[in-house]
Amino acid sequence: MAQHTFRVNGETVTVDVEDDVRLLWVLRDVLGITGPKYGCGINVCKACTSHVNGRAFNPCSVRVGDLGPDDEVTTIEGLADTVDDDLHPMQQAWVERDVAQCGYCQPGQIMAAVALVRAVREEGRTVTDDDLDTIRNICRCGTYTRIREAVKDGAERM
């Protein structure tokens, strides 16, 4: 066992766990942060998508030992705290368009959408249909069309 210190949703945390345990399980099984979901464990389904230092990543594929004390992890639980409101604009768009069905994939979808909008904006553009086609997050309920509409809507509010 070893101690690992990093930041989650604005707070510094220290956990006692082996270096190679993937961050998803440190979040879920050790810290009780269950917004990031397990859907594959191999960085395919993207249900665990969260942010590290503001960029999208999949904690199922990161060893906790690879994080440093300054690394800031944001999960869906901490997304709203990155803006001055009860909900992040992307979450607001999701609620207003009633995107979710079972909801299992939606934390990951929202985190991926926020990162996509930021990345596209860094390129000085707005989100296109081709950009939406690159989202890999699975939704087995098939809410894809509402996700596409909500990403565009959320982007305008961001």
Binding site: V17, E18, V21, R22, L23, W25, R28, D29, V30, G32, T34, G35, K37, Y38, G39, G41, I42, N43, V44, C45, N53, R55, A56, F57, N58, P59, C60, S61, V62, R63, D66, I76, E77, L87, Q91, W94, V95, D98, A100, Q101, C102, G103, Y104, C105, P107, A115, L116, A119, D133, T134, R136, N137, I138, R140, C141, G142, T143, Y144, T145, R146
Partner: protein, 786 residues
């Protein structure tokens, strides 16, 4: 609801009949009986069987059983012998509570139930709290969520109970306010006297309570008085879902229930003889327990990551499975041998015969939330938490598996992360209980994703043969022979049918369970002369189940492809041919709607082709129009670890689902049905090779992804005169897959005979290892940020 062709604020379209179509299914205007239950605050109840009368006293003989008596009627009628109560309470804060004996898996039934209660009780939907009831064995066969039946079976009982509550509250208010009931009005949970004096439901809750249980007769609101029902409403858990607060089974914090996973056999349904390196595995970081059980070798650890590592380290001596050495071709050959011959009735010599045989590969019904359950088995009792659509059956199976009486097993139903038929079975609950008993500790058991397509429930491989004869523009005969690997209905529906045997339509006599379900669901919605549809099933070695819409997607694909062949034979346009032959007014209206809204026959670039198809089931109808882009630049799109291929660029679906409780929820179900249909037609299947399925990931099993999603989608919710809701959860699939199949056939000029169409191409992925049974977790996640 709005008038014809208006758009609601949310884009949902509603249409009103303007053609004087026949009156819809109605409810009797008589009073209903409900109960006020003894208690200190108001509690009311209605019999879950209320309103569940057989559709017809006498069911005529063939050809079209589902037109008069379908699977929904069976499920609704099967409520009759149970005579059990559903209960609504109104507490002192003015909140109504209802523990629904059904399961929410994303289909929106808790939202719909809250709307029904709010409507009848004149209160805010937000003040109604709907939870999922634990297993209630006294409900016998009446706690099964399936067959798109929840709204059909629950609509009237919930209304009756709510109406009883309102009556009691009004009576109590009359006393409190010193007024006649007739001088009181109710709105938003407040009773108001003509002069404005008022009292809230919360304040009345105790006074409205009864110290004894009494039966009362009540009436129900007339449809034209509805304010809530029929209006679009967002899900009750929408906020929880987007903030990460919505809890699924794996998110529950049950003390000492540590992560647990199984090392599973390299062949389908194999079993472990022994674990050769137990000491090594037990010494691994985080590991607390190891147990060999029938389905594999279980490990319990501090984190699931350490479970995965331990599973990968296991050296297990395996017993081969029952399908060792089998593959797609050998199972298909077995199906062909089991096909029931065609017996075309005598037709004139000059009639033309058309034949079509279509093959459907195995498909996985797995949801994104994998099989999972929490179990705490003690010597004298057991507690289980899981997403279960048939919790009473799971309770029975858990009890049997761990050697306890059923009454000693508590089964808690947790909101599920999707189902698609997968959660009809308590596989994970039973396995978790067995492992908990073996380890003597609580466990939180999760299937690895790789286990799902390889060992989980599947939609069975099937063939569907159709022979039709036509003469002088008429279709004289239509015969369909569906042959399938056995579909497992061991989740309670069988018990329902058995219990009802004496009351079923006469022409079901002598059929097997699966044949009965086939007969109760399959309706050819066309005037095709003499119609026969028969099912035969073989081979019980696979783990199968009722994947969303059971037989219908496959049966419909064969029927709709044949319908296009018939149209071509008589030189008619596929839409006009259907319009001419369709025998059901609901179907015709849906068909006309998609043709109009979708622009049937409009000019399209070369390589973009339309397809159109219909389906009738669950007392309703659907029609779908798609446009399929088969141009090289589309088909040849390259996306990492993906199947691209032809793309549906536009989908329009029209649905008549009877009275619609929540049009927004219905539209969501249709969108999901279209996504399923696209995958079933084009991309999603499991390959059986050498006794095991190759797929082990969402990048192997190609369910629809964003790059397969139609950029244009429209759902038209047809207005209906029906007083009762039909089924919605599965209704969108069959016509969708069929429309895509028809478009593909028209685009290529060749009718595909195997689905999905990419099944036979070069395997689009590198199969993952079978030993170890799960893939390693990557470590490069920080290199792949975006």
């Amino acid at each position: 609801m709005t008038t014809a062709h208006d758009h609601d604020a949310d884009g949902t379209r509603t249409m009103r009949s303007t053609d004087g179509s026949p009156p819809g299914r109605g409810v009797s205007r008589r009073g209903f009986v409900g109960w006020v239950l003894a208690g200190s605050t108001l509690a009311v109840a209605a019999d879950l069987t209320t309103g569940a009368q057989p559709a017809q006293a006498a069911v005529p003989t063939p050809p079209q059983v589902p037109e008069l008596y379908d699977l929904g009627d069976l499920q609704t009628q099967s409520a009759l012998p149970t005579s059990q109560l559903i209960t609504i309470t109104v507490d002192e804060d003015g909140l109504a509570h209802f523990a629904m004996p059904r399961m929410e898996v994303g289909q929106g039934i808790t939202t719909a139930a809250a709307m029904i209660i709010a409507e009848e009780l004149d209160m805010a939907v937000e003040d109604v709290r709907v939870t999922l009831a634990p297993a209630r064995p006294e409900l016998v066969f009446n706690q099964l969520t399936g067959g798109s039946n929840t709204m059909q079976s629950m609509f009237t009982p919930i209304r009756v109970a709510a109406s009883v509550a309102k009556g009691r509250l009004l009576a109590a208010a009359a006393t409190a306010l010193g007024a006649q009931v007739s001088g009181l009005t109710t709105k938003a949970g407040v009773v108001t006297r003509t002069d404005g004096a008022s009292v809230t439901y919360g304040e009345l809750s105790a006074a409205a309570a009864s110290d004894e249980t009494v039966a009362v007769e009540v009436g129900l609101k007339a449809r034209d008085g509805f304010d809530v029902l029929g209006t679009p409403r967002s899900r009750d858990d929408a906020l929880a879902a987007v903030t990460g607060r919505k809890q699924f089974t794996m998110d529950l914090d049950v003390p000492d229930a540590l992560p647990t996973m199984l090392c599973r056999p390299p062949t389908l349904n194999g079993s472990p003889r022994s674990l050769r390196n137990r000491a090594q595995v037990e010494a691994m970081p985080g590991v607390t327990d190891v147990a060999v059980v029938d389905t594999g070798v279980a490990v319990r650890a501090a984190t699931f990551g350490q479970c995965i590592d331990a599973v990968r380290a296991m050296d297990v001596d395996w017993e081969g499975g029952p399908v060792d050495g089998e593959d797609d071709a050998s199972i298909l050959a077995e199906l062909k041998r089991a096909e029931i011959p065609m017996v075309v009735p005598k037709v004139p010599l000059l009639a033309t015969t058309l034949d079509l045989e279509v093959e459907f590969m195995f498909r996985s019904s797995a949801a994104l939330e994998p099989n999972c359950a929490i179990a705490d088995v003690r010597p004298d009792r057991a507690t289980v938490w899981s997403g279960l659509k048939a919790p009473i059956v799971a309770q029975r199976d858990v009890a049997k598996a761990v050697g306890l009486p059923q009454s000693a097993v508590e089964v808690n139903v947790v909101t599920g992360g999707g189902s698609f038929g997968h959660k009809l079975f308590g596989d994970a609950a039973v396995e978790a209980a067995v492992v908990s008993k073996a380890m003597g500790k609580p466990v939180k058991l999760l299937w690895h994703r790789a286990d799902e397509p390889r060992q989980g429930r599947l939609h069975p491989m099937a063939t569907s043969r159709v022979r039709a004869t036509t003469l002088a523009g008429q279709v004289l005969t239509y015969e369909q022979r569906h042959t399938s690997v056995v579909t497992d209905f061991g989740h309670g529906l069988g018990e329902r049918l058995t219990a009802l045997a004496a009351e079923l339509p006469a022409n079901l006599g002598g059929l097997t369970l699966s044949q009965s379900i086939f007969t109760l669901t399959q309706e050819t919605p066309y005037d095709y002369g003499v119609v026969t549809q028969l099912l035969s099933e073989v081979d019980t070695r696979f783990n199968t189940g009722s994947m969303r819409n059971i037989y219908s997607p496959d049966v419909a694909v064969a029927r709709e492809l044949m319908t296009d062949l018939l149209a071509r034979r008589v030189r008619k346009d596929p839409y006009r041919f259907r319009k001419e032959f369709v025998r059901n007014e609901k179907v015709r209206r849906c068909l006309d709607t998609v043709a109009e809204v979708g622009g049937w026959g409009r000019s399209l670039p070369d390589g973009v082709t339309q397809g159109i198809a219909v389906h009738a089931e669950y007392k309703g109808a659907t029609a779908v129009l798609v446009e399929l882009d088969t141009r090289p630049e589309t088909v040849g799109r390259r996306i990492r670890n993906a199947v691209t291929g032809p793309r549906v660029t536009k989908a329009v679906i029209a649905v008549d689902a009877g009275f619609v409780v929540n049009p927004r929820g219905l539209e969501a179900q249709m969108m999901g049905g279209v996504a399923d249909g696209i995958a079933l037609a084009l991309t999603s299947s499991c390959h059986l090779e050498d006794g095991h399925f190759l797929e082990a990931s969402w990048d192997n099993y190609f369910y629809t992804r964003q790059w397969n999603t139609p950029p244009e989608f429209e759902c038209v919710v047809m207005d209906s005169d029906d007083e009762l809701p039909g089924g919605a959860g599965e209704a969108g699939v069959a016509a969708s897959v069929s429309a895509v199949a028809c478009a593909y056939a028209r685009a290529t000029g060749t009718v595909p005979t195997r689905f999905p169409i990419n099944h036979d191409g070069p395997l689009a992925f590198e199969p993952k290892s079978f030993v170890p049974s799960v893939p390693a977790s990557p470590v490069n996640g920080l290199d792949l940020t975006s």
